[in-house]
């Protein structure tokens, strides 16, 4: 039995107790259902174990050499390749991915562009107050869940931040206040006590609430009598008092705050609100936590920032980075690609039909450890080892802290890691 980090979600719990018999994981203590499923993938039925090529409509098992030859053929024939995914690979593989994109003059993007990676781009303008999990456990006294249902999406988050008894918060749950702002009464509301605040905001009206709070920051007593977005004046006052009185508060942003339209920038206004509150209050500070889904979503942002100076959506031309406003979505929308390499994700089932139809119409090369809708559509399928179980590496947690993953099992014979596969493709192209 040893304690290893779990790669089920972006919380990366490093206290999961695992027992193995050399081939499979047979004892799992402490992991939630999401983490357990992750460990079960080692022996799951839909595991990919051999490279496959589409021949006359069907996927057929071939050797690695044949598969890589075919990859070379497709990449040499293409001028605008697309690379997407990388959120479930380690940072080493992500660096290789950027190297490959540079070599083949491709466009590379990660899942963070349709998730909270946007927030980091916005933070370049407004600034962002970040915090770490250890600080939240030991010091925080106010937790705000805004547009996220942590009890179901990241099951162990509330356990770690709300119920834990930290060094300066020895009474645990008794001393911590939780505020949930959500239009739907989700499972997260189940942990609330009398003095906590449940705000059922109207759908899509977060911006109104943020603006009212910003106004109150500038001029006291300016709350509207009739309330705003389904929240009455009394609740507004309590919310504002909690934000102002917190010694160490943290606002967790979930997917609920993301808007597809660029002109409605809720996250930018929220960051400005946090800055205003921090200017005004003198007890402590309010910081922001970004609740991503994939366990290494922020890793790609960090790696591409250190290698190229840009967060995501990297377009290469003549082996140099060029400026572009495009993201993976606009790229596919405009049909501005001629083949794609998908690493460890399933865009065919994530994207809307109009986009996935376009993506599937061009040659697809999939690097993944399990069968998915994307791998069923693919031209070439390359099986990879499961990062965090069959291969070690560095990943970034939701609070941007690097965590070292451990290798506890050997991958099945003939299965390489993401990093090795990308390296071999780079060498093959020459």
């Amino acid at each position: 039995m040893e304690r290893i980090p779990c790669t089920g979600c972006s919380l990366l719990c490093d206290d999961i107790l695992i027992g193995t018999d050399g081939l499979f994981v047979d004892k799992i203590y402490g992991a939630c259902l999401k983490g357990k499923e992750r460990f079960d993938q080692v022996s799951s039925k839909n595991r990919l174990t051999s490279p496959m090529i589409r021949k006359s409509g069907n996927l057929e098992n071939v050797s690695w050499d044949n598969a890589l030859e075919k990859v070379k053929e497709i990449l040499n024939a293409s001028s605008k390749p697309l690379l997407y995914g990388f959120s479930t690979s380690n940072c080493e593989a992500q660096a290789k991915g950027i190297q490959l994109a540079k070599k083949i003059n491709g466009f590379i993007d990660s899942n963070s562009v349709i998730c909270l990676g946007k927030a980091l781009n916005i933070a370049k303008e407004t600034g962002i107050t970040l915090t770490t999990l250890a600080e939240i456990i030991n010091k925080t006294d106010l937790i705000v869940l805004w547009g996220s249902n942590a009890a179901e999406s990241i099951p162990r988050l509330l356990n770690k931040i709300l119920f834990s008894r930290g060094k300066f918060r020895m009474t645990g749950r008794e001393i911590k206040t939780i505020i949930i702002i959500d239009p739907v009464k989700t499972a997260s509301f189940g942990v609330m006590q009398l003095r906590d605040l449940a705000l059922n905001i109207h759908t899509g009206k977060d911006l109104d609430l943020i603006r009212v709070l910003k106004e109150e920051c500038c001029k006291e007593g300016s709350f509207p009598k009739e309330g705003v977005a389904g929240i009455d004046e009394e609740e507004l006052k309590r919310l504002f008092l909690n934000l102002m009185g917190a010694e160490n508060g943290v606002i967790f942003i979930g997917q609920g705050l993301l808007r597809p339209l660029p002109e409605v920038n809720v996250i930018k206004e929220l960051f400005e609100l946090v800055n205003l509150i921090n200017l005004k209050q003198n007890k402590g500070r309010i910081s922001v936590g970004l609740l991503g889904g994939h366990y290494n979503m922020f890793g790609f942002d960090q790696i591409s920032l250190s290698l190229t100076g840009k967060n995501h959506s990297l377009q290469f031309s003549n082996n140099e980075l060029v400026n572009t406003e495009d993201t993976i979505i606009t790229k596919i929308e405009k049909d501005d690609f001629d083949c794609s390499i998908i690493v460890g994700t399933d865009p065919i089932s994530h994207f809307p039909y109009s986009l996935s139809k376009k993506l599937a119409s061009k040659p697809l090369i999939v690097i993944d450890n399990r069968k998915s809708a994307t791998s069923d559509m693919a031209e070439i399928v390359l099986p990879s080892a499961i990062t965090g179980i069959e291969c070690e590496g560095l990943v970034y947690r939701f609070d941007h802290v690097p965590i070292e993953l451990k290798k506890i099992l050997n991958p099945p014979s003939g299965v390489l890691t993401d990093e090795e596969i990308l390296n071999q493709i780079i060498q093959k192209i020459g």
Partner: protein, 156 residues
């Protein structure tokens, strides 16, 4: 307060407490029995209140009823909030203080454990509802904090 409603409220001092309110508090903490209030038992006009009171205190009065904690396996998603929130776990398993998973093999006092993504009840011997005294005996943190409402405390 609920208990106070069903007392005679005459402050007769026969139970040894100066007021009925004081007696009600002692009753809540399990220091006295309902029978200590002699007017309630003897006088006919309080008969209805007496029966109500027995019903209210039923959980502790019925000795043959046994404590059970039911965990619905279909609802549970192994978040481990019960493991961290349980005061007995917190006292005897140090890792749970900072929200971590307890050590394996488990301490003999430990009540809950998350195994294979589901919560498991290890033993009930050291539950506060059986061992603690006074108000702590009314502990039901595992039941109220479960976000999936998978835990139920029942007397069978």
């Amino acid at each position: 307060m609920e208990l106070f409603k069903y007392l005679p409220q005459t402050n007769c001092k026969k139970c040894g407490y100066p007021t009925c309110m004081g007696y009600a508090l002692a009753l809540l903490q399990g220091k006295v029995k309902i029978e200590d209030c002699t007017p309630l038992v003897e006088e006919a006009k309080y008969k209805e209140k007496y029966e109500k009171l027995i019903e209210l205190m039923g959980g502790e009065d019925g000795k043959e009823k046994e404590l059970h904690i039911d965990i619905d396996e279909d609802l549970c998603d192994g978040c481990g909030i019960c493991v961290t929130a349980c005061p007995v776990n917190a006292r005897f398993c140090p890792p749970t203080l900072s929200g971590k998973a307890p050590d394996v093999p488990h301490d003999k006092h430990q009540l809950f454990e998350v195994k294979d993504g589901k919560c498991v009840l290890l033993n009930l011997e050291h539950c506060r509802r059986l061992e603690a005294e006074g108000r702590e005996r009314e502990c039901h943190v595992c039941e109220i904090y479960c976000p999936r409402e998978a835990i139920k405390i029942v007397y069978v």
